[in-house]
Symmetry: C2
Subunit: 414 residues, 2 copies
Amino acid sequence: MNLTEMGKRATAVKYRLQALTTEEKNRALEHAARMLREHASEILTANARDLQQGRDNGMHSGLLDRLLLDSGRIDAMAQGLEQVAALPDPVGELLESFERPNGLRIEKCRVPLGVIGIIYESRPNVTADAFALCFKAGNAVILKGGSDALASNRAIAQVLRQALEDCGIDGDAIQLITDTDRAVTMQFMRLKEYVDVLIPRGGAGLIRAVVENSTVPVIETGTGNCHIYVDKDADIDMAIPIIINAKTQRIGVCNACESLVIHEAVREALLPRLQKALAEKQVEVRGDERVCAAMEGAVPAAEEDYGREYLDYIISMKTVDSLEEAIDHINRYSTHHSESIITADPAAAERFLNGVDAACVYVNASTRFTDGFEFGFGAEIGISTQKLHARGPMGLRELTSYKYRITGKGQIRG
Amino acid sequence: MNLTEMGKRATAVKYRLQALTTEEKNRALEHAARMLREHASEILTANARDLQQGRDNGMHSGLLDRLLLDSGRIDAMAQGLEQVAALPDPVGELLESFERPNGLRIEKCRVPLGVIGIIYESRPNVTADAFALCFKAGNAVILKGGSDALASNRAIAQVLRQALEDCGIDGDAIQLITDTDRAVTMQFMRLKEYVDVLIPRGGAGLIRAVVENSTVPVIETGTGNCHIYVDKDADIDMAIPIIINAKTQRIGVCNACESLVIHEAVREALLPRLQKALAEKQVEVRGDERVCAAMEGAVPAAEEDYGREYLDYIISMKTVDSLEEAIDHINRYSTHHSESIITADPAAAERFLNGVDAACVYVNASTRFTDGFEFGFGAEIGISTQKLHARGPMGLRELTSYKYRITGKGQIRG
């Protein structure tokens, strides 16, 4: 099917989705969860085809693991749908209401965005996760997954469509682009007439390509060059486990710490102890001169190191002589995702919270908490690193817009 | 100065603007208002040059009027700054606060967007208005006005910069692009590294050009193909003044009514009376067959008429047999700006409010109320017709983003 036709179908279904009750949506999500479990063998068969093709094409093991489904992962997808069903419905929420002197009554109400496009890479579970969040927030979704995962995505989408139709809901609420031609993806990014918002989910290259080519409004998600700043009044015993957690608990995620900023006053107390802890995890340190002087095994950092999201067992380190210098350094190199200060001084914490420009600014905690589940949103579609619309973890509410409902008694403008 | 340099300057100043107190901002706005009045003669001299050049280039009278400044209009600009000074400061507002089971305390706080770019046409007052709103919301602004108004804009911006500097604030909080080369405007739309959001203010052509070429996130403002639907249970005595007001009170604005949708049951009662009222204002009617049959002087509408924003003394009219048909017709041709139903039936009103997809949906009132002042926002930067970030009239709050401030006691992720 061509994209214009898909856009028309999404538009035709979106107003019907907006009118579904919470119960109707939840029933469909729960049924879809059951269906995923019941049809696990078909999904695994399709996934085996994707994996075989990946191996034939020489795909490396990390990517093959992302692509892999097994019954545990299918069950996790199903559980994801059930969790979204259990979340409160954002649609219809009254955000504000006020009356004007002329008697007009104005209500600001939460409404779905309409049609959401998602462009993602090789994890097939995104097909179910993204559908569930968009659907619960009352939106139609058009998905474009990685071509490596096409058979898996097709099988999952087919089950989800069938589940909707079993519940009397138009299956076009979820549509999957199956044409792997790059020109089709480009056209998708310009399907402004039918798509209200595009959300890219993937690495920096994918996100950049979407931002540069899209005429549809984009929510930019995710790259994180996250810093931890150890202040002169930091509790070193607290700093070390936070740094180890943020750097090494999962290295490939956007909220992992990539750079440490150290106040000169704690440099000599912190670094030798930190070196031991990092060495246990085999983390390479790239530091400035003062860092290298205090830390065995550290190698000199190039200026570019401070701007890098390593997603690896590497950390850059920079010494500063003041809190202000730390804030300036972070604002300069940050991707505005998650930044943390370790300090026992409330005034320093406040200056850091105010001065650092990021979606999430932490005091005495790991940057790893930037996550929809950890924030209590129940689920997330991604972490926004832009300032328009939504910033930080994006749950159901961030997949909505609002409208003003104005009720009068014949008022005209003078 | 080249754009990259302007971007760097805006970035350098933006964090300082975010730290200004409400009092510091208000004092600067009030001083800028005084300065505009004091320097009126220089601004008028510059404006005379723009007008002369416009006349030399054969600019038509409507455009010349938009370009024209006089002491009344300069005073209105100054009053605009004073009004913005009097509005509440949105920056720092605590939007939400909650504690997680692990003891992390999360606060969602309103922060400035950062650097806002505005691209506008020939009205020089936008230079002062846009600056005031962006500045009060804590943002640096880079302005690109119409080349027709360059001398006027330059004079106004110079006064505003001076006023800021008199108050100890860096003048780079307002920068004006004076290079009228089209390539520079294109480069401005791709200044993603330095500009957080672009807001085009002007006609459909300008907005389309910005949406298609920008890599900076855009807030789309403005075109309005606004409908009034006269339901079968409408009070005709209420409908007529509303239609006349919405169509004719100001024809060139985005919230003017461009199309009327009429339930068959009221067609014969409404149209002859409406015809008289519209004829007095010399409004041309383009209608379907049933409209033409009931209305003297109406000419047949082409299908394209239903999608047109006339901005003129012309209105299209369409007959429908049900409320649902009216909603479908409006959702098909609407620019999702402002739509109104005239009805005495609360159930019909509710279905219209829910079913019509627009920033502002009215019951028994003129579409002309879609306006920041009329909504009580005190001022507006424009009317958003997109669903991302802000919808409808955009005041100070819509020129902000938020950040999460998270305070812990050493929490790490398990």
